[in-house]
């Protein structure tokens, strides 16, 4: 059935997240960006939202609530409305944990999930991106060679969110000698041959504490492969991550619109509020149009995930569309503010950097 109606529970969650974003994220976002630092208190506070824990199985100490990608998309839009960097920091662990919960073996769940269900934030992260021009999933160069009952991982990873604090990495790699199939491998931070370098200096998302990984023949047991030695379809993992990014970009876009509107109504030029000029007003109207469209695409892809339908197409469309629209909205936001869009006294310049950065995470979302 086609319906745009959130459940009452989803409405409640949305409200709570909106409040958290306004109180605990927006006010600290600029300082985090200037210092490229993620405060412990924020990690603790966001951990206490239970974004990860509540949806993990009871057997592992979780809340046992059914996983709802749609709810998560709603949550992420609200958090990113507060700040995209902090929103990604808040959910990075769940990308790892949910991957284990959804695609992992019983043994993997037993050994890895309880850590996320304690009283303190636990960090583990997804290692997907790699150095070099035009990275995308079709061009992974990190290899996993089978060697007896083990896999040997070699390659480089970049922009691993919260990588500087992570206890484990879920490393995506191609099979060696001709086997092009993608696999995901759980690698503990202290693994032989793994070097964690960083934090990486980036255009935006500066407080995300991204790390680079250098893997020199890192050996892991066959059971370290997500889903067991035989592996599993990691596309579900990538699709979930794409939907998450689409939701984040929706939140950023809405933030720009809601910041630009009062500015344009206050700002007087040529004798009247600039908001009364069609060039400005229509730009704001377009922001509203596109923010709506982005949200529905993200919801649609999330619904595919939620009902176990193949989300490959809908997730790519959601992320691709959001990347293009969010970049334009942030760019227009700077233009509406004019000189004030270019200085760091206003958040728009930060959103401009974040929008461009979000659009290329995991590879160009649109060309």
């Amino acid at each position: 059935m086609i319906s745009f109606g959130p459940t009452e529970e989803q409405e409640v969650v949305r409200e709570a997240m909106r409040e958290f974003a306004a109180k605990a994220m927006r006010p600290i976002a600029r300082e985090c960006d200037e210092k490229s630092e993620l405060p412990e208190e924020f990690l603790q506070a966001s951990f206490e939202l239970g974004l990860t824990t509540t949806q993990l199985p009871e057997a592992c100490g979780g809340g046992g609530e059914p996983r709802s990608p749609v709810t998560n998309a709603i949550v992420l839009e609200e958090l990113a409305h507060g700040d995209a960097t902090l929103a990604l920091a808040a959910v990075a662990p769940s990308l790892f944990a949910f991957a284990i919960a959804d695609l992992g073996t019983e043994e993997q769940k037993r050994s890895l999930l309880p850590a996320f269900c304690g009283t303190r934030p636990h960090v583990a992260s997804l290692a997907l991106m790699e150095p070099g021009p035009g990275f995308d999933v079709s061009s992974l160069r990190t290899l996993a060679e089978p060697k007896g009952d083990r896999f040997v991982l070699s390659g480089s990873k970049r922009f691993v969110p919260l990588g500087m604090r992570a206890s484990h990495f879920l490393v995506l790699a191609r099979g060696a000698n001709g086997d092009a199939s993608l696999g995901a491998y759980v690698v503990p931070r202290d693994a032989q041959g793994l070097r964690v370098v960083g934090p990486e200096k980036t255009l935006g998302l500066r407080a995300l504490g991204c790390a680079s990984l250098e893997l020199e023949r890192v050996e892991v047991p066959a059971e370290a492969r997500l889903g067991g030695a035989g592996g599993t379809d990691v596309r579900r993992l990538l699709n979930a991550s794409r939907v998450a990014l689409a939701a984040v970009m929706t939140g950023v876009s809405r933030a720009v619109l809601e910041y630009a509107v009062p500015y344009a109504k206050d700002r007087v030029a040529f004798g009247e509020a600039i908001a009364r000029k069609q060039a400005i007003a229509f730009t704001l109207a377009d922001m509203r149009i596109e923010t709506d469209a982005m949200r529905w695409l993200a919801w649609r892809a999330a619904a595919d995930l939620e009902h176990g339908r193949d989300a490959t197409r809908s997730a790519q469309q959601a992320r691709g569309y959001a990347a293009e629209a969010c970049m334009k909205i942030a760019d227009d936001g700077v233009q509406v503010l004019g000189g004030h869009g270019y200085i760091r006294e206003h958040p728009v310049e930060m959103w401009y950097r974040n929008a461009r950065s979000l659009g290329v995470l995991e590879g160009a979302a649109t060309l």
């Binding site: 319906s3 459940t7 908001a275 069609q278 649609r300 339908r309």
Partner: protein, 392 residues
């Protein structure tokens, strides 16, 4: 619960619509090349097809709402052709206006007629409040006397009657505007000509002239002859119609752009061009990437349409969302059909194929029922909390 999958009952209807669309297509080119002809009210194949509306029986609460379904049906029909139908449904835009603004008696009296709606005038474009056509009451005969011209009247030639916007008092602006029902054949009511257009050539778009056209006093829709001091009471009444038509117009256009996308994909696939989702973009050719991008744009626009319709199914206000759907749809269909021709290259401009026709037909979407500019005024006012005088 949020979801976007049609139910089995929904599919039954949409599959049927698709079957009819495939038949309808075989007539599309003929009526495009022979614009003086009108497509029949019923195609010969109609006997092999149950009436779609019969399938709407026995749907439950767990099925998709009627508003949303009607958008999908409209898009499904124009996927076949803009003008040709397996069976032409009775009724035009004017019937919607009659339902929205007419008294029960008026609905009873004229509901069975196919009614066009005459708003636009040579001088006023998409600004309905500038209507110059005048209605003057002649107390002697108790009749309204209409004088003025209307253009772009959809189904204007075949309609049996028309709902005309006219003003009782130009100085009163919007407030003075009322809608009147005029039956074909009324003296002084002349159907000037069928417009020659870029596309939708099988469609009838007429120009009307009213010269001392006399109609009974009771033909004023709603019957309220008073001119509200402020605001635009009467005008609002007639404007109601638009909340339903804007998303519908967008859906109609998106059915056509979907046809263009499907044709383009099919052609590229036959030519062996890889068009996969999920692989990175760097693996794709320029043409493939462009097609995937346009497919995403199509989905985005259609979702804004369904959203506006869903709100009305919920009985919630959808004025802004209707304009969002219309603005987004109108822009998207231009980009999509232009892009498909680009992707296919020279063959895209050949009249051997329907693509060039879809490119022409769909261009009306961003023009009628209020251009994208007019929609952005409506959206902008909502976003900014401005009145129509603050943002013009």
């Amino acid at each position: 619960m949020i979801d976007f999958e049609p139910t089995a009952n929904d599919r039954k209807i949409l599959d049927q619509v698709r079957q009819e669309a495939l038949v309808v297509r075989s007539y599309a080119r003929h009526y495009d090349e022979n614009e003086h002809e009108f497509p029949p009210d019923e195609l010969p194949q109609a006997k092999d097809f149950p009436n779609v509306f019969a399938l709407f029986a026995g749907r439950g609460k767990e099925d998709t709402g009627m508003g949303v379904m009607s958008m999908l049906v409209s898009a499904g029909q124009t996927w076949g052709d803009y003008s040709v139908r397996m069976r032409r449904g009775k009724g035009g835009l004017g019937n919607a206006a009659l339902r929205a603004a007419g008294t029960p008696e008026q609905q009873k009296k004229w509901g069975h007629l196919t009614l066009a709606m005459a708003i636009t005038e040579p001088g006023c474009g998409s600004d309905p409040s500038m209507v110059q056509t005048a209605a003057v009451l002649d107390p002697a005969s108790d009749e309204w006397v209409l004088n003025g011209e209307k253009i772009f009247v959809t189904t204007g030639c075949r309609a049996e009657g028309v709902v005309v916007w006219a003003t009782l008092d130009k100085s009163a602006g919007r407030a003075g505007i009322k809608s009147f029902l005029v039956e074909k054949g009324t003296p002084g009511f002349v159907v000037a000509h069928k417009e020659k257009k870029l596309g939708i050539r099988a469609d009838d778009t007429a120009a009307y002239v009213f010269r001392d056209c006399r109609i009974p006093r009771g033909n004023l829709l709603g019957g309220d002859e008073s001119i509200p001091k402020q605001g635009s009471g009467g005008f609002r009444g007639v404007m109601k119609t638009f909340n339903m038509t804007r998303p519908a117009v967008a859906a109609i256009g998106l059915g056509i752009s979907q046809a263009a996308l499907d044709f383009t994909r099919e052609q590229l696939e036959q030519a062996g061009v890889p068009l996969e989702y999920g692989t990175g973009l760097h693996g794709l050719s320029a043409a493939a990437q462009k097609l995937l991008r346009l497919e995403g744009l199509q989905e985005a626009a259609m979702l804004t349409v369904l959203r506006a319709a869903w709100l009305s199914d919920q009985g919630q206000p959808n004025n802004t969302e209707s304009s969002i759907a219309k603005a987004k749809g109108g822009a998207a269909v231009r980009e999509i059909t232009q892009g498909c021709i680009e992707i296919l290259g020279p063959m895209g401009i050949s009249r051997e194929f329907l693509l060039e026709k879809w490119f022409r037909d769909v261009r009306i979407t961003d023009i009628y029922e209020g251009t994208g500019q007019v929609q952005r005024l409506i959206i902008g006012r909502d976003v900014l909390g401005y009145s129509s005088s603050e943002l013009r």
